[in-house]
C-alpha cells in the first residue's frame, strides 16, 4: 500500500469533508454542518491519542483531561474579557502540554496495565478538582461568554467559517503527522512500541522520546478542547472524565489505530452511530457494545482497513 495511494485517499476524504457544508445547504439541513464539525473536533482529539496509542503503544485512559484543560483555557480568559483566539488557543496547547509533562513524567515510569491505571487516576483527580472549584461553576460547568476571536473576516460565529477553520486545523494536523511519522522522531516512537529494550540497547534514551510525544499529543488534544468549547459554547468538568477518554479510545480503535486517517474515520463512525442508534432505540448501548467487541476481535485494522486504499498500518 504505497504512500501515494494513501495520500490520494486522504485527499479524497478531506475534499469530501470540505463538501459537507455545500451538501448541507443544498439539502437544507444545516444541522449536518454542526454534526460534522463536532466529528472533526473529536477526530483531532482521536488523532492526538493515536499518536501515543497506535504508534507509541501507550494506552492512556486520561487523555480527555487535556480536552478539559483546553476548554477551560478558552473559557476562563473569556470570562475576564480576553477573547482573542491567538491568546486562548496557544494557551490551551501550552497548559495541556504542561499537564502532560507532569503526568507523563510520573506515569511513563510504568507500563502496561499500570500505565493505563495511573493515567486514569490522574484524569479522575483533575475531574474531582474541577467539580470542586466553584468560581468556575463546579460540575454545573460554565457558559462560554463568547466564541474565540480570530480577527478580520474569520468570525467563528458564522457556522461556515468555523467549519472551515476546524477542517483546516485537521488537515494541517494530518499533514504534519505524516511528516513526523516518517521522520527520525516517528521512527523512534514506533520502535519504542515494537521493542523498547532493543532500542535502549542501541543507546536511544527512549524515555525522553516517549515523554516528548506524550506532551505533543496532550498539546494537540488541548487544541481540540479549545475547539470543543467553541462548538458547544458550554463546558463542564465532565469533559475530563475517564469515560470520555474511553469514548476517544473507541474512536481510535474503531477507525484503525496506528494510522492517521483511521481515527478520523472512527470519530465519524462512532458519533454517527451514536446519533442514529439513539434515535432508534433506548437500548442502543446493547448494540454498540457487541459491535465494539466484534470489531476488536475480527477487524483488527479497524474500519480504515476495510476502505479501498486504506489498510496496512504505517510500519
Amino acid at each position: 500500500m504505497t504512500s501515494r495511494r494513501r495520500a490520494l485517499t486522504m485527499a479524497v476524504a478531506l475534499a469530501a469533508l470540505a463538501a459537507v457544508p455545500l451538501a448541507a445547504a443544498a439539502l437544507n439541513q444545516p444541522f449536518y454542518l454542526d454534526l460534522f464539525r463536532r466529528i472533526m473536533i473529536f477526530a483531532i482529539a482521536a488523532v492526538s491519542l493515536d499518536i501515543i496509542l497506535g504508534y507509541g503503544g501507550m494506552v492512556s485512559l486520561g487523555h480527555a483531561a487535556y480536552l478539559g484543560i483546553g476548554a477551560y483555557a478558552v473559557a476562563i480568559p473569556a470570562l475576564h474579557g480576553l477573547h482573542s483566539a491567538w491568546l486562548q488557543w496557544p494557551l490551551a496547547m501550552a497548559l495541556s502540554g504542561l499537564a502532560a509533562l507532569v503526568i507523563g513524567a510520573v506515569s511513563l515510569r510504568t507500563s502496561g496495565v499500570y500505565f493505563i491505571m495511573i493515567t486514569l487516576a490522574f484524569a479522575q483527580m483533575l475531574y474531582y478538582v474541577g467539580i470542586s472549584i466553584e468560581p468556575w461553576g463546579g460540575d454545573d460547568g460554565m457558559r462560554l461568554p463568547g466564541r474565540s476571536r480570530l480577527g478580520g473576516p474569520l468570525d467563528l460565529g458564522d457556522p461556515h467559517v468555523f467549519y472551515y477553520v476546524v477542517l483546516a486545523i485537521l488537515a494541517v494536523l494530518l499533514l504534519a503527522g505524516e511528516r513526523v511519522i516518517h521522520a527520525r522522531f516517528g521512527t523512534v516512537i514506533r520502535a519504542v512500541k515494537s521493542n523498547e529494550a532493543r532500542l535502549q540497547a542501541i543507546g536511544v534514551a527512549s524515555f525522553r522520546y516517549k515523554l516528548a510525544v506524550f506532551v505533543l499529543a496532550g498539546a494537540v488534544c488541548g487544541l481540540a478542547g479549545a475547539l470543543l468549547a467553541n462548538q458547544t459554547e458550554y463546558l463542564t468538568p465532565s469533559y475530563m472524565h475517564w469515560t470520555r477518554s474511553g469514548d476517544i479510545m473507541v474512536m481510535v480503535i474503531l477507525g484503525g489505530m496506528g494510522t492517521l486517517a483511521g481515527p478520523v474515520l472512527g470519530a465519524a463512525a462512532f458519533l454517527l452511530l451514536e446519533n442514529v442508534l439513539s434515535a432508534w432505540t433506548v437500548h442502543w448501548q446493547a448494540i454498540l457494545g457487541p459491535l465494539l467487541v466484534l470489531v476488536v476481535l475480527y477487524a483488527r485494522g479497524g474500519l480504515w482497513s476495510l476502505v479501498p486504499g486504506g489498510g496496512a498500518r504505517d510500519g
Partner: protein, 391 residues
C-alpha cells in the same frame, strides 16, 4: 395518446393547485431527557408522562396533530446541545422541552432561546436561568433548585429544631441545596459534610454522624446515592433514633428499592401523588392504570409541560408563528396543573406552594409519600430580583 397525456397533466396540475388547501401544520415538540444509563429510569418517568398527556389530549396538542421527538442526552451537556441543534435545525421543532440536569440545561436553554424557539423546562432549575439569564422564551414547569430545600429550612426553623447534621454530595447541586436550606434555617448546625459524588459506602460518615450527636439529620442524596444512604442509615439503627429529613432523596423511585428503610422520613416538595385536585387525580390514576407504577414529580412536571404548551397553542388558535401570543398565554398559566392553581413569577418560574411530606404505610400496606401540611404558600424563588424581565 395526446389527449390522455393532456388529461393526465391537467389532473396533476389540478392536484397541485388543490394541495395548498393544506392540512394544519403538525406541531413538533422536542423532548430532551436521559433515556439510557443509570439515570434512564428518570427519563422513562418523564417520557411515560408525556405520552399520557398526549393521550389525554387525543394526540393533539392545542388542536394540532403533534409529533414528539425524544432525545437522549446521556447526561452530557455537549450531547444535549447537539440534540437541541438537531431538533431546531433538522426537525424544526416549535418547542423544546424536558431536561433533567442543570448543567445540560445551561447548555441547551440558551441554544434554544437564541434560535428564537420556545423552551419549556420540566425539571432542572439552575439559578442562572431564574436570575440573570432569564429569557422571554424560557419557561419552567418545575421549580428553582433552591426552593425545595428552602421549604425544608423554613419548616425546621418554625419547628424550633436544632442540632442539625447536614450532608450532601460535593458538587454544585449539593452545595446549592445546603445553602438554600441555610437561607431559612437559622438554628444550630453541628455538622456539614460533603461526600464524594457517586459514593456508595457511607459507613464512615454515619459513624462520624453518631459521634457528633445531632438531634436531626438533613440530607440531599439523589438517585442511587440516596438509595445507598437510606439503606445504610437504617442498618446502622439510626432510622428510629434520629429523625431524617431530606430533599430529592425519598421519592417514588427510591422507595421501591429501599422499602422499610425509608419509612418515617420527611421531605419537602411542591407536589405529591396524593395532592388533592382534579388534574392530579386524573394524572395519577390514569398513569397507574396505563403503566403500572406510581409516577414521580419528574413525571408530573413533564405532564404539566405538555399541558402548558397545549394552553399556549390553543390561545393563538394554532398559529405557531405568533410567538408573542404564545408567551403571553403561557404567562397566564391558564391550564389545569397537577399541583393545582399556580402563577408565574416575572422570571417565568412558578410561584407555588410547598408541602411537608412523610413516607408512611398507605391504605394498601405499601409505603408511599403523603402530604402532612403546607410549609410555604405562594413561595417565590430567591433569584427573581436578578431577572430584568418585566411584564
Amino acid at each position: 395518446m395526446r389527449t390522455l397525456k393532456g388529461a393526465l397533466i391537467l389532473v396533476l396540475v389540478a392536484g397541485l393547485l388543490a394541495a395548498p388547501a393544506r392540512a394544519a401544520e403538525t406541531l413538533k415538540i422536542g423532548f430532551i431527557t436521559s433515556l439510557s444509563g443509570p439515570a434512564g429510569i428518570i427519563g422513562k418517568h418523564m417520557k411515560d408522562s408525556v405520552e399520557l398527556a398526549l393521550d389525554h389530549l387525543g394526540r393533539k396538542v392545542g388542536g394540532l396533530e403533534t409529533e414528539v421527538i425524544y432525545g437522549d442526552d446521556q447526561r452530557k451537556p455537549d450531547v444535549g446541545k447537539q440534540l437541541a441543534d438537531e431538533m431546531l435545525k433538522k426537525h424544526r421543532v416549535h418547542f423544546v422541552s424536558g431536561v433533567i440536569w442543570s448543567n445540560v440545561m445551561l447548555a441547551v436553554a440558551p441554544t434554544v432561546t437564541g434560535a428564537g424557539t420556545l423552551m419549556v423546562g420540566t425539571n432542572a432549575g439552575p439559578h442562572e436561568l431564574a436570575g440573570k439569564m432569564c429569557h422571554e422564551l424560557y419557561f419552567t414547569t418545575s421549580w428553582q433548585n433552591d426552593q425545595t430545600p428552602e421549604a425544608m429550612g423554613k419548616y425546621m426553623q418554625d419547628q424550633g429544631l436544632t442540632d442539625v447534621y447536614a450532608m450532601a454530595p460535593n458538587y454544585a447541586a449539593g452545595k446549592d441545596m445546603i445553602s438554600g436550606f441555610k437561607r431559612y434555617f437559622k438554628g444550630k448546625i453541628v455538622g456539614e459534610v460533603y461526600t464524594k459524588l457517586g459514593q456508595q459506602d457511607y459507613q464512615a460518615e454515619i459513624t462520624q454522624l453518631r459521634a457528633a450527636n445531632p438531634k436531626v439529620v438533613f440530607v440531599f442524596y439523589p438517585g442511587d446515592m440516596g438509595i445507598q444512604f437510606l439503606k445504610q442509615y437504617a442498618q446502622a439503627g439510626l432510622r428510629g433514633q434520629i429523625p431524617l429529613y431530606s430533599v430529592y432523596t425519598v421519592d417514588e423511585i427510591s422507595i421501591p428499592a429501599v422499602g422499610e428503610a425509608a419509612l418515617g422520613n420527611f421531605e419537602t416538595r411542591y407536589w405529591s401523588p396524593d395532592l388533592k385536585n382534579e388534574a392530579n387525580a386524573k394524572y395519577v390514576g390514569d398513569f397507574k392504570k396505563k403503566f403500572g407504577y406510581t409516577p414521580t414529580f419528574y413525571g408530573a412536571q413533564s405532564y404539566d409541560g405538555i399541558m402548558l404548551i397545549d394552553s399556549a397553542v390553543r390561545a393563538v388558535k394554532g398559529d405557531l408563528s405568533n410567538k408573542k401570543g404564545m408567551v403571553a398565554a403561557m404567562r397566564k398559566a391558564d391550564f389545569k396543573s397537577t399541583r393545582g392553581k399556580f402563577a408565574y413569577n416575572h422570571n417565568h418560574h412558578p410561584i407555588q406552594n410547598f408541602y411537608l411530606l412523610r413516607s408512611v404505610k398507605g391504605a394498601g400496606g405499601e409505603i408511599e409519600m403523603q402530604i402532612q401540611k403546607p410549609v410555604f404558600e405562594n413561595h417565590k424563588d430567591a433569584y427573581h430580583q436578578d431577572c430584568p424581565m418585566k411584564w
